[in-house]
Symmetry: C2
Subunit: 214 residues, 2 copies
């Protein structure tokens, strides 16, 4: 299946798209284990805690990847999911905020080979600007728009204090950013053509305490 076909099927639910990276991650683990060439929806189901019917249904949105009896060819399915998710090339990512978490993300080696590279790090703190973080010189946030436009960057990660998060978001969007991953603990407003995803450990922990007995 080609990227163009994926584009021609805009009706695929976000929740299906949301599971594809999880399948891709597990397929790459299977490939790295290296002891076989094929897998099945049953094996993926067992490894991911998702039903095999769900996995087959999700993948069927994009074509016929598996064969009855032989299952999915691991390398082929990895290639296809990589194309569908537009991960053939590395996406440059602008990281805004060079605090503790910004440092952790700039140093995160999990981006490598999975489609992303933190290419620019910004901060507003004169103490941080000009210093290096994992080989990248921290840029002043004053140059945010110029650098993003010049390098045609479409993705950004926000690791800034809550009170400036919306302002930084607005500036990123104005500069052409289309996808934002925000670690600021606040809902951010973006136009319809911009996607935003949140990571807040407190929200995740609070989603579990309901089920705990004190």
């Amino acid at each position: 299946m080609s990227k163009d076909t994926a584009k021609a099927t805009p009706s695929i639910p976000d929740i299906v798209i949301g599971r594809l990276p999880v399948y891709l991650r597990e397929l790459r683990r299977l490939a790295s284990e290296g002891d076989k060439l094929t897998t099945s929806s049953q094996e993926l189901a067992r490894r991911l805690g998702i039903s095999s019917a769900q996995i087959r249904k999700d993948l069927s949105h994009f074509g016929e990847f598996g064969k009855q009896g032989t299952g999915y060819h691991i390398t082929f399915l990895i290639e296809q999911l990589t194309k569908i998710l537009h991960l053939q090339n590395e996406w440059p990512v602008a990281l805004v905020g060079a605090g503790f978490l910004g440092h952790a993300l700039a140093n995160y080696n999990g981006f490598k080979d999975r489609g992303f590279r933190v290419s620019w790090v910004f901060d507003s703190d004169p103490e941080k600007i000009g210093k290096e973080v994992n080989g990248l010189v921290v840029q002043t946030v004053d140059d945010l728009e110029q650098i993003i436009r010049q390098h045609n960057i479409q993705m950004a990660i926000i690791v800034v204090p809550t009170n400036v998060a919306q302002d930084i978001t607005d500036r990123l969007v104005n500069a052409g950013i289309k996808s934002i991953l925000s670690y600021a603990p606040i809902h951010l407003n973006v136009p319809d053509d911009v996607r935003i995803s949140y990571s807040d450990p407190v929200i995740q922990l609070q989603q579990m305490t309901y089920y705990l007995t004190i």
Copy 2:
């Protein structure tokens, strides 16, 4: 509504429970802005990008919090959601892994006043054990089970390499941990009575690249 009433309604969908912390976070922001005593499902909807009908329906699972015409009393609703989510007291959290991200989480000031305190930090690296991270002495992971049992800790955050994540998870579960937030980029197997939540920036970024034009 009391905690006991919440316990008597086990049929509330996880997805509803999952939104309550987002409501609570926004209500606390409203309270901190301090310019009014009440809010409405319409105002929350506008601030959160969730429909007002959804918000009313979600909250109605737990009782009648709002009044027609006057809306929700902010402080009262914060108190009720705090009780429903079992956040009246701080939960001690065991943090396993004192690398870059472990440091960032140990230093994260967003836990404070939101129901959690990182109480213990563990690592297996002799270079890290015994050093302080945000006032906490890094413990050897050899003492993981003993400390968790002794202090009756129910929540843990995992920030360890992929290849040891399942082993650490098994040990945490054996020691009595019931809720895990994992930053390891791998699906982890836990028993039915243990909840696990994942945070993987690559998965979140890959969920957005599908929608990007190269």
